[in-house]
Symmetry: C2
């Protein structure tokens, strides 16, 4: 593919005056709010999976990272590393997904870059997305605000994304209805923040899943996170598929969920608010913050036993996002 052809794909998909100028960068209007930068590389395999593709993932992942920081996304940039020989139709499909996702969240892709490497030097397409967001007024989020007694909320079922991607890989002959939960959650997050409920901290449980986020919270605030397994929403078919694969759902990625730590007195009201949004229908309180044992995540099983959910040092599932 020639440079012209590639530029044509992206410019026609993403549109916008900034990108069409093909300058080295794009201008964004000044604001009196602080702004947040986030960046993520996407190397998901396969490129297309039930519920999404690398393009939707790249846009949603970046929008969601801004949202959980308490920032309203205003602009995205993206870079592509393409393997020579990649079919133009594949690139067009990915660009269309990114354009659709960018349009649905109302955040333009303003700058980009493309590099082509020889066959065998990259696996299809890698995308890096960077997002800029403005601080949502009056929002004050941080691990230091967490206190014993706070409640832990999840906005939907866990592990859908990772399971859908795994099952879509060549070699897995399991047919299922499981689709990725990949979706933008910035509206859901804004509703949560606007509700006036005491939201103290938010994070999306992507790579490493719910257990990894909870461990980061437990280490960060030096408290214990205690979770009741029976309260954690999970689809039966996801649970069954992961059991078959020998994988623990607490470590499998979601891409359209949010973990929220909120003041105990506000938790039920917050869950009611979240459930009114399409992205939060299955929101639930799943546990609480306790003083000790510090830095631990403890899981109370449905039959009453307790186990520790440790931080995993290595990636259990490579190339899930």
């Amino acid at each position: 593919m020639s440079r012209d052809l590639i530029e044509q794909v992206f410019v026609s998909a993403f549109g916008g005056p900034a990108l069409a100028a093909l300058d080295d960068g794009a201008w964004v209007k000044a604001s009196d709010q602080d702004f947040c930068i986030t960046t993520d590389a996407f190397v998901v395999k396969p490129l297309f999976f039930p519920g999404g593709d690398i393009g939707t993932l790249a846009v949603c992942g970046t929008v969601n990272d801004l949202a959980v920081m308490g920032a309203r996304p205003i602009a995205l940039s993206c870079s592509f590393v393409l393997e020579e020989g990649l079919k133009l139709a594949v690139l067009e499909k990915i660009a269309a997904s990114m354009a659709a996702a960018s349009k649905s969240v109302g955040v333009p892709i303003v700058a980009g870059d493309t590099k082509v490497v020889e066959k065998g030097a990259a696996d299809g397409v890698f995308i890096t997305t960077t997002g800029i967001g403005l601080r949502i007024a009056d929002v004050d989020l941080g691990l230091e605000r967490i206190a014993p007694g706070d409640k832990v909320i999840i906005t939907g079922t866990i592990a859908d994304h990772g399971t859908a991607v795994l099952l879509a890989r060549e070699g897995f002959q399991i047919s299922s209805q499981i689709a990725s939960d990949c979706a933008p959650i910035h509206s859901l997050v804004e509703k949560a923040l606007a509700s006036g409920a005491g939201v103290k901290f938010m994070r999306d449980p992507t790579r490493g899943g719910l257990a990894t986020v909870l461990n980061e919270v437990a280490s960060g605030c030096r408290m214990c996170i205690s979770i009741e397994e029976a309260r954690v929403p999970i689809r039966n078919d996801v649970s069954a598929a992961l059991e078959l694969l020998g994988l623990d759902p607490f470590y499998v990625a979601s891409e359209g969920r949010c973990v929220i730590i909120a003041a105990a007195s506000d938790a039920d009201r917050l869950v009611a608010t979240l459930r009114q949004d399409d992205q939060g229908r299955q929101s639930a309180v799943i546990g609480r913050v306790e003083k000790s044992p510090a830095t631990m995540v403890s899981l109370e099983s449905s039959v009453g036993g307790r186990r520790i959910l440790p931080m995993l040092a290595a990636d259990q599932l490579p190339r899930i996002c």
Copy 2:
């Protein structure tokens, strides 16, 4: 390499409170200036070459893209795609180069991401860098400001970077003193803008070299760019090496140069200012803008003939940056 190990390499190299927090993003203070976003993927091969490596290139390339837009760089983010089996020492060396470059330009790396793919799925390391810069007050750059009679200036020798990288590739048994010109040019650019000389447009001649930038200018302002070959600074050894390789130096990348279009009356004074800076010692007026033939770049050779420098549709030299 485990996630912990990788994080340790980057956090210890780049430092800074924002990055150390390992949040999903980083906050930047509000400003009353518009800001500019630029993004670039770096896939240079080999990773290390005389005069730099992929790390210096990633930082300088992004800083320079902001500078030529008339923006003062204030923050960088970076993402890495690493091939499994990459030696830790290689990663540490690249991180150290990025840290040194970021320190030397005074622009912190505030956010990052790392993905590891299996052996054979990526060629060593790919880096995407995104830069944020604030508009330098009173700067007004744009192709629409260019007028017939304006002068074309280059701030140093052409084609050093591309030649150094090519010669460093396996298979080329040519030993030389040629080093990449990879360097940050934001200070040079700021001096040019502060000089009060009528700078109308700037662009760094990276991928596709000087000829590509000049063609973009000629098409953009629908005028002719006329260049005198004898005035274009080029090292003798670079010229000789490229002749040997059958490559045209006008299409070979620089990574520490800037093409400036300036009002004719200010051009000599501007060149004198540029020459006072370490990055601009060999600055020279190399041509002028003419009314016609519109959208063409014309090269007057040392012996008096004229040839057209066309826009090349395909990358002459893949993986040069």
